[in-house]
């Protein structure tokens, strides 16, 4: 579904991503892990067109999106969340979702007034459903800035979903969450997979990555050093050395 072919991004002399080959299959939850600065977020930013690619190719559903702008990638069906929460804090929760849903050149062609003022009935129902899914029922009229940290993270997820993507790029969605919230996030990701979404999950929280992904790629210094199922990755000596740290601490998973 998503294929990266010898993808590279250099910032001056720094090779943030260096010849990365990766393929994410349809309906998969694919984990992308690695130490800080290993190029995970850069990869996400390359895929959705925020940074221009230095070399290599990105294909999505057999389309070349290597040089596509962010909104073109979104229209193609790739939505993302941000490592640092990025919401429209001055707008209500409802407005954040409503505009995200319609952002794309309005494929729905209900009447002008409906489209611009209240949103069609179907759009409204979609937003309600997203609020329910993200556990934000009853918060629709709050300003996004007034939500708690966990709620803002869930709103980001809901907003990504509002654009009806086929693929989600989640950049550290569990950062700063407690165990209970991580468990809820895991449930949500499972539900999304069952719904047919493909997910690329960049994450440091190993409980989540190991528990939810089908396959994992490990980056170090911009290069892929391992790929496989969670079990294979956990037992890979290279990964242990580069990422999970010394052998005696590998068991607790956090490193």
């Amino acid at each position: 579904m998503l294929a990266l072919k010898s993808l590279s991004k250099h910032f001056g002399g720094v090779r943030a991503v260096d010849g990365l080959d990766m393929e994410v299959g349809k309906g998969e939850i694919f984990g992308l892990i690695g130490p800080n600065g290993s190029g995970k977020s850069t990869t996400v930013n390359l895929i959705c067109g925020v940074f221009p690619v230095t070399a290599g190719e990105i294909r999505f559903e057999d389309r070349d999106i290597t040089r596509a702008a962010p909104h073109v990638c979104l229209a193609a069906g790739i939505a993302r969340t941000f490592q640092n929460i990025r919401l429209f804090g001055h707008l209500s929760v409802w407005q954040n979702l409503w505009v995200a849903q319609n952002g794309m050149a309005d494929r729905r062609t209900s009447g002008f007034l409906h489209r611009w003022f209240a949103g069609s009935g179907r759009a409204r129902a979609d937003v309600e459903r997203l609020l329910e899914f993200a556990g934000l029922g009853g918060k629709a009229e709050e300003l996004a800035a007034n939500l708690s940290f966990g709620e803002q993270r869930r709103l980001e997820l809901a907003r990504a979903l509002a654009a009806k993507p086929t693929m989600l790029l989640l950049d550290e969605p569990a950062a700063g969450m407690n165990m209970e919230e991580v468990a809820q996030l895991r449930e949500r990701l499972m539900a999304l997979r069952d719904d047919g979404k493909t997910i690329l999950l960049v994450e440091h929280v190993m409980e989540l990555v190991m528990g939810v992904t089908d396959r994992i790629a490990v980056l170090n210094f911009g290069q892929k050093i391992a790929e496989g199922t969670p079990e294979e990755i956990q037992n890979d000596p290279l990964v242990r050395e580069a990422y999970l740290g010394a052998p005696q601490s590998a068991g607790d998973g956090h490193a």
Partner: protein, 299 residues
């Protein structure tokens, strides 16, 4: 109603248009020091239409506002590609340019043996439509407030619409807005055109109230004030800039005992608010809080 009060209220109403115009651009995240240019353009254009071409008032006003909006769009196409401070400076430069053009702009025709029309730095006299048609000061004030009410209604509809949400999104995080498929530059040009139209309505009203316009009144202080009104009153609702105008014109300028201290008080007020309430008295959070309260009471 006494004349002074009518004059003050008319002034508040007129200045409210240019304040709303600057407010609209603040919503999309741009600081314009040049809204007085569109106010001026419409003052001249509508004055020319009624005093020299013999048009009626309403078509003249509409024409003035339309010219101002068109000028705003034309200015917006090159300037909105630059952002932030650079945009602010470009608007300031444009406004000064417009003022200097009016300093040398001469276009006069003979009407009843008298020369009528803009006469460079001597200004444009005898925009006498209101007098010639026996419209009283109170009637004219009501016309101003009728138009203001209509424009306010348009603003409230805007805030409820998707367009309003898009404007606020662009104001808060243009990069994120762009990622969501919003053509930021196009929407900003639209906002600038709408702001030009609103400033233009005010300018046309102004020319016909004072019957006389001269270039130097459209100086940068008018633009700075109209910006400050939104920043004082708040950027959460279109009532915000109106509160700013009411405080400045209605209180500081119009009460004789304190009018000498106007700029001191006004400057201090802006400074204090920028520290304690950077988005004004009625900012987004305050407006949402009020909205939720009202809804709860009704429910």
């Amino acid at each position: 109603m006494d004349d002074h009060l009518v004059g003050v209220l008319s002034n508040i109403g007129m200045i409210s248009f240019i304040a709303l115009s600057a407010y609209l651009l603040l919503i999309v995240g741009e600081i314009s020091f040049g809204q007085q240019a569109f106010f001026a353009i419409s003052a001249y254009a509508s004055g020319i239409a009624t005093a020299m071409w013999g048009w009626d008032f309403w078509p003249g006003l509409a024409w003035g506002a339309a010219v101002a909006a068109a000028a705003a769009v034309l200015v917006g196409i090159p300037t909105l590609r630059i952002r932030g401070l650079y945009f602010s400076i470009a608007t300031l430069a444009f406004a000064e340019m417009v003022r200097l053009v009016f300093e040398v702009f001469k276009y006069q025709v003979e009407i009843d043996g008298e020369m009528v029309g803009p006469d460079g730095s001597d200004g444009f006299r005898d925009i006498r439509y209101i007098f010639e048609n026996d419209i009283t000061a109170v009637e004219y004030m009501l016309m101003i407030y009728g138009l203001l009410a209509a424009v306010l209604c348009a603003f409230f509809l805007l805030e409820r619409s998707r367009l309003g949400s898009i404007f606020r999104m662009i104001g808060q995080d243009p990069v994120l807005a762009q990622m969501q498929g919003i053509d930021v530059t196009a929407y900003k040009i639209l906002a600038l055109g709408m702001a030009g139209l609103v400033a233009g309505i005010g300018g046309g009203l102004y020319a016909h109230l004072t019957t006389f316009v001269e270039p130097k009144i459209f100086n940068v202080m008018l633009g700075v004030h109209s910006l400050a009104y939104g920043l004082i009153g708040g950027l959460g609702t279109a009532f915000g800039p109106l509160i700013g105008v009411a405080i400045d014109i209605g209180f500081l300028e119009s009460i004789r005992a304190i009018s000498g201290y106007r700029m001191i008080a006004f400057g201090g007020l802006v400074a204090v608010l920028l520290i304690f309430r950077p988005r004004g008295l009625l900012d987004e959070a305050a407006v949402n809080w009020i909205r939720l309260r009202l809804r709860r009471r009704h429910a």
